[in-house]
């Protein structure tokens, strides 16, 4: 069970700012994205613009294997603006 945090445009598309999600402990970042899109299909439109932050480290959506612990924070990070 991880905490998923939404920011910026992803908040509008998902309709919420955070939630808990059950996902496999070992999962690629692409698989994680697909799990999230299953719950919030409207997020699919920003697939090419977002990255993840897993335990506050940026992770690209792709082959990277994640080893998740219960309570880990996963954030959807749209393109940053305003720094």
């Amino acid at each position: 069970q991880v905490s998923v945090l939404y920011f910026a445009r992803s908040v509008e598309l998902a309709g919420l700012r955070c939630e808990t999600l059950s996902v496999p402990r070992q999962i690629t970042s692409l698989q994680l994205w697909e799990e999230i899109v299953k719950v919030h299909p409207r997020l699919a439109v920003i697939r090419d613009q977002v990255v993840f932050a897993v335990r506050q480290e940026y992770v690209l959506i792709g082959d990277q294997l994640l080893v998740l612990q219960p309570g880990d924070e996963v954030a959807i990070i749209p393109p940053i603006s305003g720094g």
Binding site: F7, A75, I80, G82, G83
Partner: protein
């Protein structure tokens, strides 16, 4: 408490209240430093051809702080003589001409402080999870 050697410190704050240039520059002043370099980022009255009255910022606060700490670490690696670094970032609504970010760096001589401030603001804009709404 011993006044002594003035241990290098990083001062990082994210807040919704108005930022203070006096406060931030006072944080980094040091008797060992002859230079304090300051950057103030303010809300401009236009953006992409549209008139702006204020900007509103949203952040992933814990990660923004982590990223700023990384920036401070990088600064100290690149410019070891840098003494103190302060980064104050305002979140929420920032009206035109008010400051959304103030960065201050102190060093014995001016070159390092000036260069470090440029690095800080550029890297902050590129890597901190903060968004304009």
């Amino acid at each position: 408490m011993e006044e002594g050697k003035d241990v290098p410190k990083d001062f990082i704050k994210l807040k919704s209240e108005k930022l203070s240039v006096d406060e931030v520059s006072e944080l980094v002043v040091s008797p060992y430093c002859g230079a304090v370099s300051l950057f103030i980022g303010t809300t401009r009255n236009n953006f992409e051809g549209k008139k702006v009255i204020h900007l509103e910022y949203e952040a992933y606060p814990s990660m923004a702080e982590t990223e700023i700490k990384k920036i401070c670490r990088d600064v100290r690696q690149k410019w070891p003589s840098v003494k103190h670094i302060a980064v104050h970032r305002r979140l929420g609504v920032v009206p035109v001409t008010e400051a959304s970010v103030i960065i201050a760096v102190s060093s014995p001589h001016r070159a390092e402080a000036l260069e470090a401030v440029i690095y800080c603001i550029n890297t902050l804009k590129a890597s901190a999870p903060i968004w304009k709404k």
